[in-house]
Symmetry: C2
């Protein structure tokens, strides 16, 4: 006798791609196959629609997606050109803590910790006295202001500066996008404790310490977060 278990495990959902989904993929393939490069002019909408056998409506729905990602730009009469997308644009649009899954939130929380811990090597490649001095100014500023109220702003300023010093704009932006997620997770846990190593301590390490010193300092600075992770994993 046949055993009927969870149907959803045995029967895959019927994939109902719309024409816009298909056209989006086909356009991608077309650009690749023809090795279009940024700046190259694309055929006009009606030609593409005719070639694909769809209405101009459907084609524009697909184009709208590519335009959002920055893959294509259009000028009124000149037509469309392929362009260099902002690699983080699509990521940014989706990063709302209220709508992404709890698992993804947790993963992104960890991702930021991974970034902070991995930054040392690239950071030390770009280190110079001027930027260390600027970082120190930021850390010093924290003492003046009300610690509780400006705590989050201070965190953002200091760590953001670290990424800036690493000289990698994409990673800096990336980390900045992760901040709301990070804050959201912490808020859920009602946990705002600080590690033993302060921002000023980290500055001192940058002045005279090694990469390893910095990594260890950063770990201690982030220790409460890692402790939280450890507690969860068990």
């Amino acid at each position: 006798m046949a055993i009927i278990g969870d149907l959803s495990l045995d029967l895959d959902k019927i994939s109902s791609d719309t024409m816009a989904d298909v056209v989006e993929m086909r356009l991608r393939d077309y650009f690749k196959k023809k090795s279009f490069k940024p700046g190259d002019a694309l055929p006009k909408e009606q030609e593409l629609a005719d070639a694909l056998g769809v209405s101009r409506n459907v084609l524009r729905e697909a184009l709208s997606r590519l335009r959002m990602l920055g893959m294509v730009e259009t000028k009124k009469k000149r037509g469309m050109i392929l362009s260099s997308p902002d690699v983080l644009g699509g990521f940014e649009r989706v990063l709302d803590p209220l709508i992404i899954s709890a698992d993804a939130l947790q993963d992104l929380f960890e991702l930021r910790l991974i970034l902070e811990m991995g930054l040392a090597d690239v950071l030390y490649l770009n280190l110079n006295d001027q930027s260390i001095h600027e970082l120190e100014m930021i850390a010093n500023n924290e003492k003046k202001k009300n610690k509780e109220i400006f705590r989050i702003a201070n965190e953002i300023a200091f760590h953001g500066k670290l990424y800036e010093m690493a000289g990698n704009d994409t990673v800096k932006r990336f980390q900045h996008m992760l901040l709301p997620v990070f804050g959201f997770v912490l808020q859920l846990e009602n946990e705002f404790v600080s590690g033993k190593v302060t921002h000023l301590d980290l500055v001192e390490i940058l002045k005279s310490g090694t990469k390893d010193d910095f990594r260890n300092g950063m770990y201690d600075h982030l220790k409460p977060h890692f402790d939280r992770l450890e507690a969860i994993k068990k």
Copy 2:
């Protein structure tokens, strides 16, 4: 006398948002303001279009973007629901080494190195004998196969397994998406040398070494890449 420099630096481009751009933003704001959560039903297309004062066409172009990102799903008659987007979907669609800028390529190359170096802490939180054993199998397998031909596949398998062991699906996928970029940059440089520390060495460290040992081992494993970075930065 007025000095005329680079015009593009002095004159901002006129922002010519299309209706679809505006509607996309307005829908986002609407979802937030009404605190829609995944699963909630959205008004029907015609109602939204009427409310926004645009044609159903324009509204659908905006919706098409949100659908692509996985923010909304639609069923034929039931209407639309807000849903949990795949946080990396938008990123994945744009990661074509042939169209993203050279700067972004370089940044992403560094980003992968940062991830590898930062992985240790999260990895050690999840470590267990079983997964170490599986990793060892992968590393051992490399010796059997033709090293040159399978070199890239081996790299992907080993490092992919490391991310899997870290127990963070998002980061694992993220790293996997970065691989083509990584490979592309290396290919440009015609550089495929390995560090002194092999995959098997890393496995041994995982068995009996500390987090710091692992980080140092990973750094040595990736040393050629860091050397390349250092050469570029100067």
